[in-house]
Symmetry: C2
Subunit: 377 residues, 2 copies
């Protein structure tokens, strides 16, 4: 059976990228690599819409976030972090492990934090050296108004704006420089369309200055070392060469499409998918939906186990389930990275078939038609 | 021109593994992945010759070593570390960054540390909680008698035997359990024959007990979390899925050949290569040669720049140069991972051609003949 991955990481990898990564390895201390690494750097800056350096680290997105915390801050520093889902929760726990006093701003899963909450937390903690925001919370399919919040932070404090862009970069509009972001992390297996194993970290000049003050012990994740190596298109440790080759190919695709077109495509896919799902009578989970992943309430009487297994065995489709207290209550479908209109129509077709098998009443074709109509509007 | 990589990491990746990694991604939270991860675990234990768990981390070998330091020790602990090359030097610097008092045992580059030096350091520092050893020092092509040293440490102290096996695992004989090793790290781009991006970490029960005492802050590299996840064939963070698929294929090849045959093959290749190089009148660098990589003094009047460029442009061969004070003075040729007898003959043929172009006098075919004769003995 033909297999289709609709999960929010890993996401499908274009065939040409899979083949590029299957080419014989080049050595990372040789000129061919340096030329590729230079091209990657140029195109990553374009993707993040920045003139600042963007580092590539061999680790998951979680490793990239750890790199931010241990480089920008010192034990005893105070930061504000937003917890509105599984990943936000992790960005509250992680800095505490490293001795950073972390003020938690909690929002219900499925709601987006607003700038007033952040400004209030900053007023209560004027010593806060950073604010940690999740641009697109993968566990809840919820996105924030990052431009507005970053602006509010800048207007009200000197705190560094630190962004988990793991499932937003390459999907959501994000303008690192003009929005005044100081640090942003993404992972390779999301909008970048390549396998997991790389994190990319953009750093503003303010962030780079803060790094010089940090007393936090670090070695593998020492970003100053990585920045120095970058000056000669090099890395401090042996990098994941094949994943970088894939990244080079992926960035070429993004450049060819144009990053604004990539953002628009994600908006269009998310919107049409939601139209199809809603036409089937299903309820959307998020009150501030991300364009990367759409969580949907499972209808009454449909179990996650039967639903996900039927999706897989009946249609070859892999989706993600709910996390935390929503385990078994929602499903999450991704339209993040290498997806087009036809993929959305195909997904809704699989969804109709699966729901019918699970005993949920529907008019065959009604979801597919609504999805298609949204595209043809 | 046909390209050949004779560098000690990355090493050549077998074509079947490149293709396996180019297969569409499977999701890491689904049963297909768990089945693969279970198989990897079984075969890693075989490779390390252990019944203990072997973790796979998404990072370079340096990241794997950091994981050891931050999990087994606490700030203020004392350890003994051997510095006999560029990597040994790193394993002295790194723990100091994390507040570990590190007693340095220095040996000249190209010499192997012996057990008496270690026992002496342990007598002077009876509080030492660990000894850090580099089994095969890649920068000097030098290996130690790990079995003997591990035995001496065990006989004289309670210190944990921590091994950088980055360029030794899958090349040098290494018996984790019967030699009494407590922790051993390897990297994927060495004897494991896959691209860089994964570290494997074997841990004894003594090491796992020590972990419970560690007060060192850690998150991404928290091995207790990774051990808990391993109980359900899972990982705490999104793993490098394609590299794990490659690892699965590589371990199948090692299992098929038999790990003792793998060790013997590396011994045979190293020995025949050295015979060929010596027959050309070149001098070997190491007094205790590793079977993974052979460093050779460049003859008088032959510059590294001309030599390495001629190797590459004339024969398509990539080699490594000297590091530290030996930059420009030696070259290093690897026979680590996916290499056979014919590769060694081919390398010596390229070496002869390169030396001749660089003006070094030799009898054409004399190196090749000596290499072949060593194999046919």
């Amino acid at each position: 059976m033909k297999k289709r991955l609709f999960t929010p990481g890993p996401t499908p990898v274009p065939e040409e990228i899979l083949l590029r990564m299957a080419a014989p390895l080049i050595h990372h201390r040789h000129p061919e690599f340096r030329a590729m690494f230079r091209r990657i750097q140029t195109n990553l800056r374009y993707l993040f819409q920045t003139d600042q350096p963007v580092l590539t680290l061999t680790c998951s997105g979680t490793g990239g976030m750890e790199a931010l915390f241990v480089n920008l801050f010192s034990p005893g520093d105070t930061i504000v972090a937003v917890n509105g889902g599984k990943f936000g929760e992790r960005w509250v726990q992680m800095p505490r492990v490293f001795g950073i006093t972390t003020v938690e701003v909690t929002v219900p899963w499925g709601d987006a934090v607003d700038s007033a909450q952040i400004v209030e937390a900053l007023s209560a903690h004027p010593d806060a050296k950073g604010v940690v925001l999740t641009h697109s919370e993968t566990s809840t399919g919820t996105s924030i108004d990052l431009e507005r919040i970053a602006g509010a932070v800048r207007a009200n404090s000197g705190a560094l704006v630190c962004v988990d862009g793991i499932s937003s970069v390459g999907a959501h509009e994000l303008r690192f420089d003009s929005w005044g972001i100081d640090a942003c992390v993404t992972g390779s297996q999301k909008g970048l369309m390549i396998p997991p194993g790389l994190a990319c970290v953009a750093l503003s000049s303010r962030a780079r200055e803060a790094m010089a003050q940090s007393t936090m012990p670090k070695f593998y994740f020492d970003l100053q070392r990585a920045l120095r190596a970058l000056e000669t298109d090099d890395t401090p440790w042996t990098p994941a060469i094949t994943l970088l080759a894939g990244l080079d190919a992926a960035l070429a695709l993004i450049r060819e499409e144009g990053v604004e077109n990539v953002w628009n495509r994600h908006r269009r896919l998310a919107s049409a998918l939601r139209a199809g799902v809603s036409a089937l009578g299903l309820k959307l989970f998020s009150r501030a939906p991300s364009v990367a992943v759409t969580p949907v309430w499972l209808p009454d009487g449909v179990s996650w186990k039967e639903f996900s297994e039927t999706m897989k065995t009946g249609s070859g489709v892999t989706i993600a389930g709910g996390q935390g207290e929503f385990t078994g209550k929602i499903f999450r479908v991704a339209h993040l990275g290498y997806f087009d209109n036809l993929d959305m129509v195909a997904f809704v077709a699989a969804l109709e078939l699966t729901l019918q098998t699970c005993g949920y009443p529907l008019i065959a074709g009604s979801g597919v038609a609504a999805t298609q109509a949204a595209f043809m509007k």
